[in-house]
Symmetry: C2
């Protein structure tokens, strides 16, 4: 791993340079990158075509995520401009006070340093992540999926050519030269050079990273999300939200896997819900009580803990909000949870007691997303509790330091 060590040394040295750049310089570089992406769209598309040709054996879902077209290239450039236009997240005075000794203590936002992001499939993530890191004064080490190798290389080459043109270190946005599993295992132990690793992807990847890392890790893990329909719910809202949360994009981590419904309204709501889901070809799997009302497959214990990533929904009748909360505490992954209710106390109890990154009242869990939150592009959705929780934008890619102004103070005891 000698070559990789040199690569990381370069990244760390670049981090010192990038941290000192003005917000204007960083934003300007991103706008230049947007222009370069537009001007070199053909190179990206031709590389993507080669990836697509080599990926004939992949599933159509994966091929769809891999595929770039002219519109995709323009959107990549647009995303870079949007990130460039965000308020500079560095140098913000987050807090400040004068302590007993008379020191003026200011808590100021600063970059994290070198950030490794491990992701899969979609090539536009390469541009997005590089841009989010540069905007927040960080250096990005990018490790994309094997299947997108040519597309990612083409994109990274364009971004780096802009950095070189502007006399900025091209290590600020670099693909990991060795994408092997062994290289990843080695990488996540390099806490001397890397400040943060963000794995985005399947369970296997997350496990490999967390079990081997000595670098700090923020996981973008699976979502086992629930929608709970309280007895005080409006049927129309409940149906619209249930359909949206399950069907609009079943492969998303913020889609729901289980519907919980109060026994008092089950007989009235479930047949109508079944009709609505049937129209969308959703496969329903129910508990015993559910199956006494609607004719669907049986759900097993295993169904309550699964992230389907498909158009399948488990349904369970509960005796009230207490049982609903207990079920979510037991099976949920603390990602996104929602209640549909008109009852004020039920809403407040649910929002307060459920421990998840995003807890919704009367809205779809699908809103757990940096773009929907208004953060601009997102670098991922944190499923951990430390540093950042839920959607992560540029603000979440910063840390802080204390700048302390004295006039000769010494400590007494």
């Amino acid at each position: 791993m000698e070559d990789l060590t040199a690569f990381l040394q370069e990244a760390k040295s670049a981090a010192r340079t990038v941290a000192k750049l003005s917000g204007k310089t960083r934003a300007n570089a991103l706008n230049e990158m947007a222009r370069a992406i537009e001007q070199n769209g053909e190179a990206i598309l031709s590389a993507n075509e080669k990836d697509m040709n080599a990926a004939i054996d992949l599933s159509s879902a994966l091929r769809e995520r891999l595929k770039l077209d002219e519109k995709g290239v323009l959107e990549m450039a647009k995303s870079l401009r949007e990130i460039a236009a965000c308020r500079d997240p560095l140098g913000l005075v987050i807090d400040g006070w004068i302590n007993e000794a008379g020191l003026k203590i200011e808590k100021v936002s600063v970059p994290i340093g070198v950030i490794g992001v491990i992701y899969e499939s979609r090539p536009n993530i390469t541009a997005d992540v590089a841009a989010l890191c540069l905007k927040s004064g960080n250096v990005a080490i990018l490790k994309g999926g094997k299947e997108a190798a040519r597309s990612n290389a083409a994109i990274a080459e364009i971004l780096q050519s802009v950095l070189t043109k502007l006399n900025l270190p091209k290590a600020a946005a670099a693909l990991l030269p060795d994408g092997s599993r062994e290289a990843v295992k080695w990488l996540v132990k390099q806490d001397r050079y890397i400040d943060l690793i963000m794995p985005r992807g399947g369970e296997e990847l997350i496990k490999t990273v967390t079990q081997n890392a000595s670098v700090a890790v923020i996981k973008h893990d699976k979502g086992v999300c629930h929608l709970y329909i309280h007895k005080s719910a409006d049927y129309e809202k409940a149906e619209a939200i249930a359909i949206n949360a399950k069907v609009q994009k079943p492969s998303a981590c913020n889609a729901i896997e289980t519907l919980l419904i109060d026994d008092l309204i089950a007989a009235e709501f479930l047949p109508k819900l079944k009709a609505a889901f049937d129209k969308r070809s959703t496969e329903l799997r129910g508990c015993e009580k559910t199956r006494a009302i609607i004719d669907i497959k049986a759900a097993s214990e295993n169904d309550w803990e699964r992230e389907y990533l498909e158009n399948i929904l488990a349904v369970k009748i509960v005796s009230g909000i207490g049982e609903a909360i207990a079920h979510i505490e037991k099976y949920g992954s603390a990602h996104s949870e929602a209640i549909i209710a008109n009852d004020h106390s039920a809403v407040e109890r649910f929002l307060n007691e459920i421990d998840a990154a995003c807890v919704y009242a009367n809205a779809s869990t699908r809103f757990t997303d940096g773009g929907q939150f208004g953060f601009g592009a997102e670098v991922g959705i944190s499923s951990g509790k430390l540093h950042a929780r839920g959607p992560m934008g540029i603000k979440e890619l910063t840390t802080y330091k204390y700048q302390i102004y004295g006039s000769g103070q010494t400590r007494e005891h």
Copy 2:
């Protein structure tokens, strides 16, 4: 590790209960604990005497840290009351906005969950850490040093008797039943039950934890701190701060290890500084240029990277602020760094460019401390960049969740 699994299951279940307690209930429990500590001081002192008798082979420094007397017990109780009196760190609305879909998004502070703290020697940490965790709605798993086992057990028993009396889960403040190295290695992998591990202590401990952990870790690591005397410095301030930062408590992580001084003032300042340090029996070790001015031992390359934890100071002459910053970037541990200067641009450049948890102008690095910052007691000083940096009080023991109020919103694309 079957017994330990049951112990962790109890801790996780306690975390759900504790998270839902009102701020008043948590503060009341802490005040009751303070009273119980005072009332049972003799039991603590008698246990501590046994620890001291068993520790005859330890160094006098370690024995001093282990020793408790009546005053120490009263201070422990006082610290609990101070923590109880802090503003409740939970339920604070940190941020809030309405997104494009009309969702009201509120970012609210919540507990982290189950926190394992691994520490050494001083028994009062047992009470402090348990109290800081309870105040912030968390459950504490306490793993103290072997040498303080009896003292820690006596303190934990008193805290738990109060929890039991108040019908609160005693797992909220529990000593790890097995303190072996193997148990620690196993513990730091239990991310199913534990949300955060905080190792406070020597390099060996930190290494064991970071290399084995799959749980998130916040390190309380070593400090290789510098004091840089710029050519524009007042001599009197420089001397007072240098002496304070080195001599007042050489064993502290926020004490300085290296003094950097501009060449232009070295011939004037160094002889006076040597006289001042000689009075405090400080051993000085210098670079070649320093030794041409004052007669001291030679510093080797190794001296620049060491945390002495003793009354020893390395001295180096630099050609100006650029070299000083480069030296600190190369050898510093990003803990606490200080400049003594009257020149405004030098101060601003140092505070902006040095990447460390606490960067001081004209003050002693010894102020890096939760108490000195005004946080009340501290659970540790984070030497990492993620989640928390520098002194950690109760606020740093919280995370956040998003509570989102909708009126039927679904996501469009």
